[in-house]
Structures are given as structure tokens and as C-alpha cells.
């Protein structure tokens, strides 16, 4: 009886030790590396902010991600968040992603994710906004996404010919896959791109 108890204590202690070692290893590879980088680049404010945001995103994913997410198959939610993270890193503009619901990624949803990525890229590159908001709602039959900035805005009827992104990569792409894109914008008033895609019911 006593032996059994001490064995189970020992086992619990061993598991705790393994967990601790795993956490330590993860922190070493991620957070400590980032902190070291931040120290060497402390006079470059933009770089420090980007490093901190990226590390925050990675650590949060590690701490809170549902264990089955990402590993087995991509879902609409994980791919959208990934896209937001990549655009944020590329252009150093914070993107607040809020995603409600989730579902498997099919061709149509994939098209919406790519259009959303393009809209986020546009906002980050051209809008001169301090941050970009992405909100997406996924139901079994439909995905709706809103990409919003508080930047300079523009007249959607007078898009310069070289801004192919909006016409081809957003509006055109959504239409080709049976969805639609609406752009609400006015000079000085920011921009919101609304993407809607009906999904084939599984």
C-alpha cells in the first residue's frame, strides 16, 4: 500500500518534471531567443514591436490553441489567423483577428481566405492605419469576413488602374468562386471590405 502510494507520487513527480522540461525547452527556443534579439536591436523601435508581436502570437498559439487544431487538417479559422499573422509581420501593422465559429477548408473557403489576405495587405500597405481589424464568422453554410481599417480611405469608383489587387484578387476572385465582395470606403473615412461565401453543405 505504502509502496504503491510512493510509486504513484514518484510517477506524478516524473510527469511534472517532464512537463516542466518541455515548457523550459519551448521558452528557450522562442521567448528567450526573441528577448535576445530585442536586446541587440533595442534602438530600432519598429523591429522591436514586430518581434514582440510575433512572439506574442506564437506563444499565445502554443498556450491556448485547441490541441487538434492545425495538426491534422487546416480549418478556415486557423488559416485566416495565419494569414493575418503573416500580413502583420510583412507590413508591421498590427492586425486584430477575431474569428467566431470554424469549419473545414474547401476550395470556396480557400478563395475567401486569399481574398481576405489581399484585403489585409491592401489595408496594411496603403491605408496608413494604426491597426487593421479582421472579423470572420463561420457557420456550416457560410463564411463572412470583414476587413476594416481607419486609414485614408479612397473612392471605390476611382481605383487607379495599377491597383489590380482590389479588382482581381478580391472582387474577381470572390465572384469566380460564387461569392461576393463589397468595398465600403470614402476618402478620409477608412475602408471596410466585406466578403461573403456560401459553402457547399457537407
Amino acid at each position: 500500500m505504502r509502496l504503491a502510494r510512493s510509486l504513484s507520487f514518484e510517477r506524478a513527480a516524473r510527469i511534472r518534471e517532464q512537463e516542466r522540461a518541455e515548457v523550459a525547452a519551448h521558452l528557450h527556443d522562442s521567448v528567450l531567443q526573441t528577448l535576445a534579439l530585442i536586446q541587440t536591436r533595442s534602438n530600432d523601435g519598429a523591429a522591436v514591436a514586430t518581434l514582440a508581436r510575433r512572439q506574442e502570437r506564437a506563444l499565445r498559439r502554443w498556450l491556448f490553441e485547441r490541441p487538434d487544431a492545425g495538426a491534422k487538417h487546416d480549418t478556415i479559422g486557423t488559416v485566416l489567423e495565419l494569414a493575418a499573422g503573416e500580413v502583420e509581420e510583412l507590413h508591421s501593422v498590427p492586425i486584430e483577428a477575431v474569428i467566431v465559429g470554424d469549419g473545414p477548408l474547401d476550395t470556396r473557403a480557400e478563395a475567401l481566405v486569399q481574398a481576405a489576405r489581399e484585403a489585409m495587405t491592401n489595408a496594411a500597405k496603403f491605408a496608413r492605419s494604426e491597426r487593421v481589424d479582421l472579423y470572420a464568422e463561420v457557420t456550416p453554410t457560410r463564411v463572412v469576413a470583414f476587413i476594416r481599417d481607419r486609414g485614408v480611405g479612397f473612392d471605390p469608383d476611382a481605383i487607379p488602374a495599377d491597383r489590380r489587387g482590389l479588382r482581381d484578387s478580391i472582387v474577381g476572385r470572390m465572384r469566380r468562386h460564387g461569392g461576393r465582395a463589397t468595398v465600403h470606403s470614402a476618402p478620409g473615412d477608412g475602408t471596410e471590405v466585406e466578403l461573403t461565401m456560401e459553402l457547399q453543405s457537407a
Binding site: 491556448f64 498590427p94 477575431v98 467566431v100 464568422e137
Partner: protein, 224 residues
């Protein structure tokens, strides 16, 4: 219940966070837009400081040793019901956030918020409003997404179409004033919808909410 507090004066605030650096940072960021009357780094110190200073608002870290923000609310609210709590966190686990809201916090903002926005949120909470960040709006929409199971009270366990619409706009990054314009209602009505959602969050018996509230966080940040 507000004891005739005069809101032309900046609200009196207690900052509770177990990171000293963060408390100092918040004090500096807030400047003279609010009056920080005390700060505390542990649950015990926080309860004592709040009881002594009776602030308008407690800015409360969700994650702290010894039970976190939830414990502070549970110990203070019964004796000082006029004190209002605004939760502040870097954590995005829905369970943590929903737990402090259900314990009685009147809002949730993330630590990346700017000093000006944080001061505004504190003033609004002091005035009795609920403050939802886009992320909290997302959590709530998620929690109320499914239809309630039999046995749950439909009224408390479901959002109205209008409440849903208001939350969706918050999640999209719109401010109350903009939401009012878009939905052609008054700002007061927007606030009323958000307060109604807060009440439902606190009173609802929805399985998603109870489950979250019961299940303590899986990874404790205390030791990090």
C-alpha cells in the same frame, strides 16, 4: 449605488497586477486622465487596498497567483457592490475571460490597448457602462452561437438579433458612436444592448458558459 459620485472628476482607480513593471507602465500611460489611488500585486494586497480606498474602478489582471482576478472580485463585490471591475489581460483563452466576466467584471480589454483607449474604457466603466473589446465580443458570439439545449432558459441563454448585430459591429472594430449611426439607434441604446448582453453572460446557465467557468485554465502562467 454610485453614491452621487461626480464624474467631472477623474475616476479613482486601483491597479491590480502581479507584474510591478506593468503596474508602473499603466500608471505612466494613464497620466492624469484617471487618478490611480493604489496598486497591488497579490490577491491579499488587492482586497486590502480596495477596501481601504474604495475606488470607482479596479483595473484587474486576469492572471495572478492565488486565484487571479476572479478571486479579488468574489471577495470584494459582496461588501463593496459599488466598485466596478475592468479586466485586463494578455491572455486570449475564452474560459479565463468569461470566468472573470461571470464573476462580475464589467468589461475586458487586452493589454495591447493604448493609454488613451484604456483611460476611456475606465471612464466608461466608472459611469456604469459595459466595455467590450472586439475579442470579448467574439468570445461571446461564439459562446452563444449554438441554440440552447432543452432545459436552458431561452430568454437568458440566447442573444436577440439586435444584440448579436451590436456585438458583430464591436468585433469588426466599430466604436459605440459609429454603431449607433450605422444601426440608426442612439448611443444609449447601443450601451443598453451591451449591458443586456453582460447581464445574460452573468446569469445564463448555458452549458458553454458554465463549462468555461468551471474549468480552470489548463496552463498556469503563474510560474513563468
Amino acid at each position: 449605488m454610485s453614491e452621487g459620485a461626480d464624474y467631472s472628476d477623474p475616476p479613482r482607480v486601483v491597479v491590480v497586477d502581479d507584474h510591478g513593471l506593468f503596474r508602473a507602465g499603466v500608471r505612466a500611460e494613464l497620466g492624469d486622465r484617471v487618478t490611480v489611488v493604489a496598486d497591488a500585486g497579490t490577491v491579499e494586497d488587492a482586497v486590502r487596498a480596495i477596501e481601504q480606498t474604495k475606488p470607482d474602478v479596479v483595473l484587474l489582471d486576469v492572471h495572478m497567483p492565488d486565484g487571479g482576478g476572479e478571486e479579488v472580485i468574489r471577495r470584494v463585490l459582496p461588501t463593496l457592490p459599488a466598485v466596478r471591475f475592468l479586466a485586463l489581460s494578455v491572455s486570449d483563452a475564452a474560459s479565463d475571460v468569461i470566468t472573470v466576466i461571470r464573476a462580475g467584471a464589467r468589461g475586458y480589454v487586452t493589454k495591447t490597448i493604448s493609454g488613451v483607449e484604456l483611460a476611456e474604457a475606465i471612464v466608461r466603466v466608472a459611469e456604469g457602462d459595459a466595455v467590450f473589446s472586439p475579442r470579448l465580443a467574439g468570445f461571446v458570439l461564439d459562446a452563444f452561437a449554438r441554440a440552447p439545449s432543452p432545459g436552458e432558459q431561452a430568454e437568458l441563454d440566447q442573444l436577440t438579433a439586435r444584440e448579436r448585430e451590436v456585438l458583430q459591429h464591436i468585433a469588426r472594430g466599430y466604436m459605440y458612436k459609429e454603431i449607433a449611426q450605422r444601426l440608426e439607434i442612439s448611443v444609449k441604446t447601443v450601451e443598453a444592448h451591451v449591458s443586456a448582453v453582460l447581464r445574460k453572460l452573468q446569469l445564463s446557465s448555458r452549458h458553454e458558459l458554465s463549462r468555461w467557468a468551471m474549468q480552470r485554465q489548463l496552463v498556469s502562467l503563474d510560474g513563468l
